[in-house]
Symmetry: D2
Subunit: 344 residues, 4 copies
């Protein structure tokens, strides 16, 4: 149950809602403060009759705006609890809300200083605002290149200093969270780890923005519930990232591009939603069209693989754009963003 | 095997290719004439060695541009056989090629004269170029409204005369093809009938453009092979229409919007590819975003359900746009089309 | 709403239920007579309050056993309407109910007299009770072998006379139903035609048993609703056949074997449910294990492709069993059937 | 490349193969010793020409039985490398090979001493050979019961001592592996963690058998490659467990029961393959039929949820069998096992 009260309410008024809710049997009462509105999210197994009674009582209080009985399984991430868009801000960039689209680009894996720096310079010149690059790679086969590890993190930090882009990198194990958080600005949870709850809790204990990719066959409810592991662990700065799902196999793409998930999720939650066009496409010739589609359906940003020399990439070369292709794509991304009333 | 020869070749030169191909064991040799290029599609189970030999021989002829050994299961619909885009033209409208996007709109089912005419006027005013409306409805339950039948066809014809829009309507049985073709300008094959081959052959024997929807779980190869049933029956005017596929069920959409199929199919075939955003969305609040996504990924047109009074619709009301919503959407469709270098 | 009354009720008592139901707003009242129980299925959009009132009234009548308000979308095929199993009987064979399992076997396509007769003899000797064989084949490509047509039907009839097995063959178009029904004992609707409603209605107007395959991506509700097209057209003798669905592609099978659909559907409907292990397997080495699984989960029968010379088959050779393999499989089928308390 | 040599070969002969392979460019040469056969698995990116040359050379050696160039992505788990079945043995129980089927049963989550002991006694009496019970539960919502943690492990150990069944429990994080391994006999990796590679490596560093569940949308290749993370980390005792996959949603089951994966995987790998009928079923009325199907298709064992009082279970109560149902099921499991030539 979400109790919306006026933004200028006193601590006592908040406390009044909380104590009444607890008395009615709710176990937790979480407070999110907006400018115009404060929402108190009451969580717990309370029967419907009691909820109705409490709703009526709360509605009678002069400082209460409205009381919504939750209709979704997820609660912390529900837009019902937080009607305004929630923007994740870092280093002068803001992802989500009515802010400009943010494009994150870079190689699948960090391979060398030269590769990373040249890529960072190219994507920055074309308009990317953050640099991506994997240091720990969750590869399907243990015999495949697994990433440079801490050396990769160091190169990312160096690229940040030298080129001036904040960095995004994947973390694949709770033990590594502290280390990765020392080097990177944004932590990424990959598709195979969406249900790795100890990892979600670990990144939830940091203060870094977290990009949470949708599981390869996760329903939207499961995805938002996964995001709640991070939020409930103390970190509300979650950015959702769709990246394709398993579906009809047609042999022509790697995954089914779940572009429709973007407007669906934007209606359900206040968190930013971005899209990775590289993984569903699987091959670079499809990436630009899918990227433009993501912008048109309302994505708050894009996460794109770019490599200075894709043919010699150690990972996902086939789906990585050439820097020149990326620069051309950015021109179109800007045009489509403007067409739907956004900027970049 | 596709033999591309110069567009000004003589009948004798074409005949030379055909007789050599038959001698090598090919069973059929189909000729498609373009301005710059004529393609002779040689079909039959010929072993690879012989194909290579024939390719070499043909390449030695002065009027042969190139010889491509088919690498796809489909052949008549393969872009390898027809490098230039193929536009389907009717009543001054042209669907496909670099032509403007074509928007087809109207009610799911024709219900009454008043409903159809008012809808036709509204969608025409907003920029639609064709009117859709079902007279024969393939409903999941035999107890649901099955369409007005021939009376629906008559109303479509009346709307065409009164409002001046060419019409699109579904045909669900080979016996009905002749009747439907008397009234409608474009025949539509629904998703459940993509594998109804006698029906595909029947519409292939007409001279009407055919919109072929993708089967609910059809691979792209199966879809293009289904199109070949129409083309091989004598009717090349096939327009492919993606409309969502079965996939991850998330309870929030009706089908998974297969927007990624659009650029994939555009690369594989020269036929126009349009998108129906209404069926995958299932609810009208999602339709506009999905429609814009379809334009951005490169669709040649849209097929959208609009109803003057969706709440009382006999079919698919929840996913039908209000006329006002459609008009607002058309403004954005135009903007996105321009952003990617097309018009409407 | 299903009104269950005693099996020895008079016409007047049945009429009483029907007239009360019509007065309450139901549009149709269909009567199914069992030995112990007669069910009157009342169909129509009646609001819930009125249904409750009518339920209470009917329960007060001495000859009424129970009144169930339907909780499923499908009605004619609902077990709620027909608690006892319904067996489809022909030529001394009975499919469904507690009767023995029925195995239907034969080639994918009828190719020649010699092929069909030798196959029929082999499968009969091994214990098959019906002979399958396609005369009209719905092939994905128009350039593939499309079946022998009426000549194939004649060969089936000859095989029936010579070998003494009733025959099953596919019908792919409403126009062909009458012709096919003259030759074959059981009509089959293939997976691609599950949503071909005019065809379902056409076979519903015959008095032949109909095997209705599940659509490649049909939900169970859609499948049972498709069956209702046949039943509502006058033919209750519907046998449901699961045959694999599109799903996770693993490159090792052709479709995902939907064995779990068998117990699900057996609980929802009184119609017999059989399984085709050949199509999901795609290759013969998997067929026997999948077939045994189908028996163990409760299938009422199997539909298996057997070919005297699979390597030269014109269709689906890779998934056809050698006659000797089929004979060995039948021994295991019998053992598993006995293990779960059935016979063959 | 798999080099199969005679089982009585000397160390020198093995060394000869290894050094030649390394000289040809292979990076790793792993040796698996069987009674009749020793297989040396040569891993590395060597071009095909060189493989053919080496194959020919090895085939000329008198002690070489055969040389197979790998045709699958997975290598350590490939049956090509290990033609004989591989049985995982513990506490007198043997899972896999031609040994009897092994049934593992118990509650979804360990809830209390009384619940666990009574359940353990019931399943042992009915014929289960191992006790399952979750102490760390990977729940979709952070607000759901997360398991008793170490207290749950202690109760499992107590149940083992008191009732005499070896125990299986899930581990969800690399940090927990050491602790869980102190208490439990078999470690389980859940479906959401199939791609949690640091966890797979952690259990690969123990000497405990590991049950690896298939990811919810994992292809069979991905699943076997995941198993290789465990094997390559030093632990060959991997038991694969199918448990349903995402697929057609029909609202009647929780996941699509991937029974067909059992015979497919049994042909591809020598590792044991068991089945969990509880999760795909989602409701207990379907569990017995699905369980029998799994036995019939060739599963080496079953993993079944049983609860003394399912209606008050803290997790997955709806799909848990009553002890009496489990006992009845075991009688049928035995009958089907015998029917296909196995025992229990």
């Amino acid at each position: 149950m979400f109790v919306q009260i006026k933004g200028d309410c006193s601590k006592e008024q908040i406390g009044k809602i909380q104590s009444e809710a607890r008395q009615a049997g709710f176990e937790q009462t979480l407070v999110s403060c907006g400018k115009e509105i404060i929402v108190i999210n009451c969580i717990g197994a309370v029967d419907y009759e009691r909820k109705l009674a409490l709703q009526e009582f709360f509605r009678g209080l002069p400082f209460v705006i409205d009381v919504v009985i939750a209709t979704t399984q997820f609660r912390l991430t529900a837009r019902q609890a937080h009607p305004e868009d929630f923007a994740v801000r870092l280093n002068g960039v803001s992802i989500g809300s009515a802010e400009p689209l943010v494009v994150i680009a870079g190689p699948c894996a960090v391979e060398s200083e030269q590769q990373l720096i040249s890529c960072a310079e190219a994507v920055k010149a074309a308009g990317a605002r953050l640099l991506r690059g994997g240091a720990y790679k969750p590869r399907k086969s243990i015999f495949a290149f697994q990433g440079l590890g801490e050396e990769g993190l160091r190169l990312l930090q160096q690229a940040k200093r030298q080129v001036g882009l904040a960095t995004v990198t994947e973390v694949i194990s709770p033990e590594l969270v502290e280390l990765v958080a020392q080097y990177a600005d944004v932590l990424q949870i990959g598709t195979a780890n969406m249900g790795n709850y100890p990892l979600l809790e670990a990144v939830g204990r940091t203060n870094k923005p977290v990009i949470l990719k949708r599981g390869m066959a996760a329903t939207i409810n499961e995805w938002l519930l996964a995001a709640e592991y991070i939020v409930a662990s103390g970190n509300p700065r979650v950015i959702l990232c769709a990246r394709g799902v398993r579906g009809i196999d047609n042999g022509y793409t790697r995954f089914n591009a779940d572009l429709d998930a973007i407007p669906v999720v934007k209606k359900l939650t206040h968190h930013p939603v971005i899209f990775d066009p590289s993984h569903p496409s699987g091959k670079r010739e499809l990436v630009p069209d899918i990227a433009l589609g993501a912008v048109a359906v309302g994505a708050d940003g894009l996460l794109i693989e770019v490599h200075p020399d894709p043919d010699s990439a150690l990972c996902d070369g086939a789906q990585s754009l050439y820097p020149q292709q990326f620069a051309e794509l950015m021109i179109k991304v800007r045009a489509v963003a403007i067409a739907i009333g956004r900027t970049i």
